[in-house]
Subunit: 156 residues, 2 copies
């Protein structure tokens, strides 16, 4: 996966959290996923599928981070992972991928988006079945960390 | 969602488990998902995306069922949710949706498949962000139960 594939994901999540949730996220060091030890409390997953490219995007939040983000987005204080908070995770992956989709289309990677799903449950693991690498990008906020996982395969 | 959409999913999972894992699955009563109480220990999720249709398929197994299925598929006894077992869940959602894709294409619903993801962690919840219904189909086997969740939106 080239840098010009992963960069739109990074820019998009920083932009969405900044504009929608007034939350500044700082990108950490990108690494290749080697095992499934990266864990979150709530994860949004959305698929990308096209004739010449497919992939998936997962965004995993720890509970404090998504509670902060959802509270800012909705203008009300949330203290538990209730349905409306979970719903926000779907909204976020949808918005992030929507923006990425437009950017990658300009680079010739055309794909459509699937319906996002959200998984909640303390310390769950996410893994992806891909022949290519899984890229993890950690992010730091003032409340805690979160990370995104991107896998992307294209063939022309 | 019409019956002719959900039926290929049901036929496909029964067929895959029968031929690949020598496991007979009996379909239970289909219902609409009202909350997120349906829980599994390991869930495979794969997205469907096309110009006129999008959706997602989730298959949630309890630990005893997937251990039995993976042991039969691989010809070796597995007793914990190790990576190769998790991998089988991705294979299963991939195979099930691959067959569904062909059947729905004949009905005029064209879509591509995303890269499958797998979530493991006891008692996790799955939810989907869709404007349409989420259909749950429970299945019974001699070892225990599992269920599939399907959401599908099309517009022409």
């Amino acid at each position: 996966m080239k840098a010009d594939i992963i960069n739109p994901f990074i820019e998009s999540i920083i932009n969405v959290l900044s504009t929608m949730a007034n939350t500044t996220a700082q990108q950490g060091k990108i690494f290749l996923k080697k095992d499934n030890l990266a864990k979150g409390d709530v994860t949004g997953i959305i698929g990308m599928a096209g004739e010449k490219a497919k992939g998936s995007l997962a965004i995993s939040f720890t509970e404090p981070v998504i509670l902060h983000v959802a509270s800012n987005m909705l203008g009300e204080k949330y203290t538990t992972l209730e349905p409306i908070v979970i719903d926000m995770v779907s909204e976020i992956v949808n918005m992030v991928l929507g923006s990425v989709k437009n950017t990658l289309a300009e680079k010739g990677y055309i794909f459509d988006m699937s319906i996002p799903s959200t998984i909640s449950g303390h310390n769950h693991n996410v893994s992806h079945k891909t022949i290519g690498p899984v890229i993890i990008v950690p992010f730091m906020t003032s409340i805690g960390d979160f990370f995104i996982e991107v896998c992307f395969e294209s063939w022309d």
